[in-house]
Symmetry: C2
Subunit: 114 residues, 2 copies
DNA sequence: GCCACTCCTCTCGATGGTCTAGAGAAGATT
DNA sequence: AATCTTCTCTAGACCATCGAGAGGAGTGGC
């Protein structure tokens, strides 16, 4: 029922998070806001998906975290990319480009060759 | 880890199947072959994913099936798109285009405006 | 001082699409 | 007769995501 439910493509969350953090360190809530903002609310990340994803990324040493105080004077865990995370982002990006191009190729197919 | 596993983007299988059938009716094995062929093996559909997907599509009346004999003289269940399936394909395609454009937008973001 | 609101973290259980790993049938080829 | 190819189909498990929360701490209004 892919109604208007979630517009978040499965499997892209980690890449999106890594990309967001590659621009600047952010806390969880900020990552979610940022992705929504850039995509004009087409992509929405809910917290129940985000925190487990952050934990997975941290466990693989693609991001590291640190408690800090926000501009609003609240405690928040800031995440930033590691060198391995940067490499990982490049890989995921390449895979995304290859796969999405392939999907577009199938969608564009009209019965010609192949 | 840079999983060389499946290159199939989650959530795109049904759309790919509908698209494939929109060109011509095919049996399950043929659908899988066809998608691999067009995408130059970037996308691979394994049977354990395909048949449950076909069953879901059939149950929603987006495709209908019929036993026929193939060119190789074997029994095969041919699937073809219904009118509702054609409509559904258009919807999924629109959603895919919106979402993948949004993902590309996030990937292209470099810290400028939002 | 108290209350509502925003900011922000985090958890649990359920859902559901996909994968692994098969079984099995029947025509074709050797 | 044995094996390959074509083709359908299933069971169990995995695991990312989602829905629906709980909770804590600072801010601003009254």
């Amino acid at each position: 029922m892919a109604d208007d439910r979630s517009e978040l493509l499965q499997g892209t969350l980690e890449m999106l998070v890594l990309k967001t953090l590659s621009v600047e360190p952010l806390h969880g809530w900020g990552i979610s806001q940022r992705i929504g903002q850039i995509s004009r609310q087409v992509l929405t990340v809910n917290q129940g998906s985000l925190y487990p994803a952050l934990e997975r990324l941290r466990r693989r040493d693609w991001i590291r975290s640190e408690w800090r105080t926000t501009e609003n004077n609240r405690r928040a865990r800031y995440y930033e990319l590691t060198a391995a995370g940067r490499k990982r982002l490049a890989e995921e990006r390449a895979a995304w480009e290859r796969s999405s191009a392939a999907v577009n190729g199938v969608l564009a197919w009209d019965g010609g060759d192949a």
